[in-house]
Symmetry: C2
């Protein structure tokens, strides 16, 4: 039994959340499988749960412990949630990285930025070209999405063919990049698909998705109606949209300006890698101030309200010498990702105060999604006719809905969130193991754990404020002077109107007087006594219990 | 000129945001106006900008300084953003509070909860009954909204009639409370309206609003299809919805359980004040465990994903002995307020993991808004035919859109965000003054300012972590031992793998050795030197610059 070969699927990230994708496939006898890793992405921190953290990515310890059996990493496309952790995880895995050209351009820059060898990234051609990786033969199948050269992976093993969709939509006229080709997908499905591991992001969207080509005319119309400066934002990586916006601006006789580092870099990468051949001429921001504003169109970063992006800087005042004013138009050619509503709202209101006409995607005229909607998913299920559908790239509710959809149409399916190892060998998916999956943080330059208390302490200081109690004990274990208090993130004066530090110092001095010698000699007990009393005083004075740090210095004889 | 009487409008909160409503009206010669205050509400803190804060409300200092000229406070309805700061602000204003019965019930409880006299709240009957308040005669005009007995205020002054809508929608069958009565509004408008000060919340909603009565049948349908336990959440204060849900549950033969303090309290207040006369019998949570789950319907608090509400507790496991499981249904009969998406998402996913069928308002079947949509606003403008429309209750973008709408239909209008004093006396609104308007925080039991640095310090500790550097200086201004470091919210070990505290202590000891006596004797300079070096070391080791607190203890001779 144990020598029987099996084909396994193990999501380490991306299944049970939208973000930090990392999927392991394995083939071989149990415990001796050879592996490949698909994608290694990040997710972004927030103030609620991860203040101060720079990036969040999947805990890949399980795979690191088995790195000797890992053959390669395949990156489906260049979005941060698929590629962002590559330079963070790679040094522990040290296997070749395969991507297509545009993604490779981004990946190489990422490796270089962290001082790693960009030549670990190997650029390959799409289907029907294949890469051999241990027991697997892998091919990049072009799909349409909101970034160029996105690919599904066709993963062949002795146990059959798996198609891992990556992020995709069904777009037969995607403006930039390859259209959805039903015939090509049918060709891939020709010899039978063992499992379709499939994007679930838009499973709750009931109508078929619209093509990227539909937004151009609406944007052209809008620009024609705009009399002042035109400013538009979208994800910089949505090169098709950036091109659509630029072409519409050009058609209206406007000079195009790219604002924000990501915007310039993405267009560069797209031109360098040959996916973008006809982008309008742009002018540098410095020259834009000489152009009448009704002849200008700015394409700016910051569609999600990011504080440091170009849109937010324009909302606060000036960016690269440019300012917005009454009569200008600002277009969100984007959807606000849940959680970013407040940041986006701040920008909209700031522009409103300036008299800027803000146009958002409320009417779905100026934006289309990059993911397959429910009817699109069903269409793919039916083209591919897999034995098994495994929903991925979704929160638990998306995975559930997608599983129900697949089962309803007669496919075997399973909900497999991060850490769920699924045997795909038979007619139905079998959960064979649960491994500990989690997240890890890049904090400044240091990797920290989600549960090591660092972030918890930050959250507590933010919610509760901090009191630092200092005390010096002399050589005879007697207090030298009185304890004193330092306050951070708390009112200096509470209900009694006496300064809190004064109250605390008096109160703790009295506490010291009545504390017996055994406690005075024991740092832990003394700390605890001071902490408890400090919290009581704060509760009475402020109506809250702060974090308390007690620092006892003992002078040595 | 200065002795000429004028009618002024001054929003202190609620205009430029949705929340913390507080509007001042004045009449009299400039600088001698007599005032009334309409509403005194709160807004809720968030981790991004106000961690640890309990409540946010309008800074009413301007009015407090003129409290001798304030006649009364009028509360339009019982939502927290209109009533929540009443017991916080009242002690500085000390004037009678006028409300209708149901609102009064809530207001009295709020006063009592803070140890204030509930009899300051005076319950009055609606239009045509009036209250005299200095130069003003005020009447409560029933409007429909998502809480019982909401009212517009008809404010008569020698300079004409102002109608302050409060929050409202046009609902001719609101289930609980008074329907919209076009005739009554026309009657109020009969003698001419000087100014309509009008809710702007839903000005971006292009279709006319739907009636509360439309959600009942859909909910009944859903309950009939549900085989397990049925759980539904909505705002507790939406008594009409709570009733609709309960009636639908009862019709399906289910026992109704109210879960969560606010849910029970609101139903109680509604029954006590006579607005709710036919609420189904409920059973206590303790008895519910004896009822088969397919015969149960729970109405629970926490439609916005609040961590301590009943819905979140059920999502985490057990609440009052009740648990959810496979086959149960959870209905959000509510809309997620922007900013709460993540909290709601957590709950939905937790239920998904349990196998619970979650139904949200995605299809707009199970929820309707309590605010007037754009066509409804236009309808009211046209019924009231005011000289002036002043948009309120909205972010800046809402005020702008509403002003444009009013002007487009031929009404004089103005954008007047918080702090903008508008003279409403003439044919067109005139901005006559800008006063400093802001927000103030209730933090535990203490009122703190938005700009006094307390919250800023909390945010910094959360984003940057904290290092406390301790140093004892002896009687001769020489260091006694070495400086030492305490770490909170930072990794203990950085890039060099040597404990950070050790590194810092060695480094700072060396710094002390090379520091000259002048600096050693000067606390400020010594602190600054230690702080700067500490941040450098942290930057090298951790790749981030923490908050640094330096504590120098000097022993006295």
């Amino acid at each position: 039994m144990s020598s029987k070969n099996r084909l396994i699927y193990l999501p380490l990230g991306g299944a049970g959340e939208i973000g930090m994708n990392a999927y392991v496939y394995g083939y071989g006898p149990k415990g001796k499988e050879r592996y490949i890793l698909v994608d290694l992405g990040v997710t972004f921190p927030d103030m609620d749960s991860t203040p101060g953290v720079d990036l969040i990515y999947a805990d890949i310890d399980w795979l690191v412990q088995r790195a000797d059996r890992l053959e390669a990493i395949f990156i489906t496309h260049g979005h941060e949630d698929h590629i962002g952790a590559l330079p963070l995880g790679w040094p522990k895995l040290k296997v070749p990285i395969y991507t297509r050209t545009f993604t490779g351009n981004l990946a190489m820059h990422k490796m270089e930025d962290r001082g790693l060898d960009p030549l670990q990234v190997r650029v390959v051609q799409p289907w029907p070209e294949t890469i051999k990786a241990g027991p697997f033969t892998v091919s990049f199948l072009p799909v349409s999405h909101s970034i160029p050269e996105s690919s599904a992976l066709v993963i062949d093993s002795p146990a059959g063919r798996v198609v891992h969709t990556g992020d995709f939509k069904l777009d037969e006229s995607p403006v930039v990049g390859e259209p959805f080709q039903p015939d090509l997908w049918a060709e891939v499905a020709g010899d039978g698909i063992q499992a379709l591991v499939c994007d679930s992001t838009n499973v709750f969207s009931p109508a078929a998705g619209r093509s990227e080509a539909t937004v151009g005319p609406a944007i052209e119309q809008l620009i024609k109606q705009s009399s002042g400066m035109m400013v538009a934002t979208t994800f910089a990586s949505n090169v098709a949209r950036v091109r659509t916006l630029a072409m519409a601006g050009q058609a209206a006789g406007r000079s195009i300006v790219l604002l924000g580092r990501a915007m310039r870099r993405m267009v560069e990468a797209a031109v360098e890698s040959g996916v973008l051949t006809d982008f309008p001429t742009t002018i540098p921001a410095e020259d834009a101030t000489n152009v009448p504003r009704e002849n200008l169109m700015l394409l700016v970063t910051g569609s999600q309200g990011e504080r440091r992006a170009a849109s937010a800087q324009l909302a606060r005042g000036k960016y690269m010498g440019l300012t917005m004013k009454e009569g200008d138009t600002f277009l969100f050619s984007s959807k606000t990702i849940p959680g970013n509503e407040k940041g986006v709202g701040h920008i909209v209101n700031a522009f409103s105060e300036m008299g800027v006409h803000v146009v958002d995607d409320g009417a779905d005229l100026y934006h289309v999604s990059g993911h397959a909607n429910r009817p699109d998913l069903e269409r793919v299920h039916k083209i591919m006719k897999p034995k098994i559908v495994v929903p991925m790239h979704g929160e638990h509710r998306h995975l559930r809905k997608h599983r129900d959809l697949a089962q309803g149409n007669g496919f075997a399916s399973v909900i497999a969130p991060n850490g769920t190892m699924v045997d795909l060998t038979g007619d139905a998916p079998q959960i064979v193991e649960h491994i500990e999956a989690g997240r890890t943080y890049l904090d400044g330059k240091v990797q920290i754990g989600a549960f090591d208390g660092i972030v918890r302490d930050r959250i507590r200081m933010a919610l509760n404020g901090l009191l630092v109690i200092n005390l010096i004990m002399d050589e005879n274990d007697e207090p030298l002077g009185e304890p004193w208090a330092e306050i951070k993130g708390l009112p200096e004066v509470g209900l009694s109107k006496v300064p809190l530090s004064e109250l605390l110092e008096n109160d703790l001095a009295q506490l010291m007087n009545r504390t017996d010698d055994k406690v005075l000699m024991d740092d832990d007990k003394l700390e605890e006594a001071l902490r408890r009393r400090t919290r009581q005083v704060a509760q009475e004075e402020l109506g809250r219990k702060p974090e308390v740090m007690v620092v006892i210095s003992r002078l040595m004889a």
